[in-house]
Symmetry: C2
Subunit: 196 residues, 2 copies
């Protein structure tokens, strides 16, 4: 392995430090401190490892973990888009594609192509790995909001139908996690922390 590779990889490693400054709308569990993208990505990776057995079909768990670790890196350039924002498309914007090319493109060419492909697979959401990774990405804020007396649902006036619509993507990755998530959504309505 030559030194050029190491130098490019180190520059990438320094660059992605910026993910720690990208604030999400959701907050930590039982907290009013906003979560940042690096913390969020770490949490999804551990969730994927712990919950892998619930996937509807066997998945390459290393692929899933890679996906969730890198899925938000494009937000260093493109910023976080709130999932319930009706003005902007949440995913696959031109800005995100440019960001993927710039940031992953700092790596040696073969690695850059590999990570861009992993990111695109996550975004497309069509493979078993992408479906399970996306289920993690939807489940974490559901757990946070339900632990925070409604969290961003209350803060931004998001109602049951919209939450249900966005969260049912979990089912594509895992029927059993969806059963849990659906019960949690219904319980949130009963508790009065999610408006129907």
């Amino acid at each position: 392995m030559d030194l050029t590779n190491i130098l490019q990889q180190i520059e990438f490693i320094k660059e992605i430090d910026k993910l720690k400054y990208i604030q999400r709308k959701t907050r930590l569990f039982n907290s009013d401190r906003n979560e940042n993208d690096a913390e969020h990505s770490w949490h999804l990776a551990v969730m994927a490892i712990v919950l892998a057995g619930h996937s509807n079909v066997p998945v390459d768990i290393l692929k899933v973990v890679k996906m969730v670790l890198i899925h938000d890196i494009v937000e260093i350039d493109a910023g976080d888009t709130f999932i319930y924002d009706t003005q902007k498309n949440h995913t696959n914007t031109d800005d995100e594609r440019l960001a993927a090319n710039r940031i992953f493109g700092m790596l040696p060419p073969e690695q850059a192509s590999d990570l861009i492909a992993v990111w695109e697979e996550f975004e497309a959401g069509e493979t078993a790995e992408a479906r399970f990774a996306r289920a993690m990405d939807r489940l974490e804020p559901l757990l946070q909001n339900s632990s925070n007396g409604g969290g961003t649902w209350k803060e931004f006036g998001v109602k049951y139908e919209k939450v249900y619509e966005k969260k049912k993507v979990i089912r594509e990755g895992s029927d059993s996690l969806w059963a849990y998530a659906e019960a949690l959504i219904n319980e949130s309505v009963e508790k009065g922390i999610l408006e129907k």
Copy 2:
């Protein structure tokens, strides 16, 4: 997969949110904001994926990624110990073992045993995977301190010999990364940000 498993796993997922509050001594790149353990663990996981090709021997990269994702979870109970603290042993304290049993023990028994074993393997540092994972754990703060005009070296008066001694563990995981790291340590001395 029965509901009991899911409920135990979700309780674990909520509990480890606390890692986001554990502050490390080191600071983000070009920054004076302290890094927290969740951000640190995320960064090591991406580093492990990107730098895997530099391992002295082929490694099970999923195992390495698991190690770095969970290696600091015990600090939720035991707290962060500064690597250059001369009063306390950095690793394998009784507190950390109790913490591992309590926190991983929230999971279904088989998963708990699996993650405790992964954590113990990391701590022992004897397998190829543990050596590479530990190399990541030593490399990240070196990159941070050298980008921060000396960072914790200056702040706590840590000198060249001590830094060299702690960092040479990188060599056990990767000769090529150690060559890079050694050059960076020497360059830090020349720049006057690390005292000899």
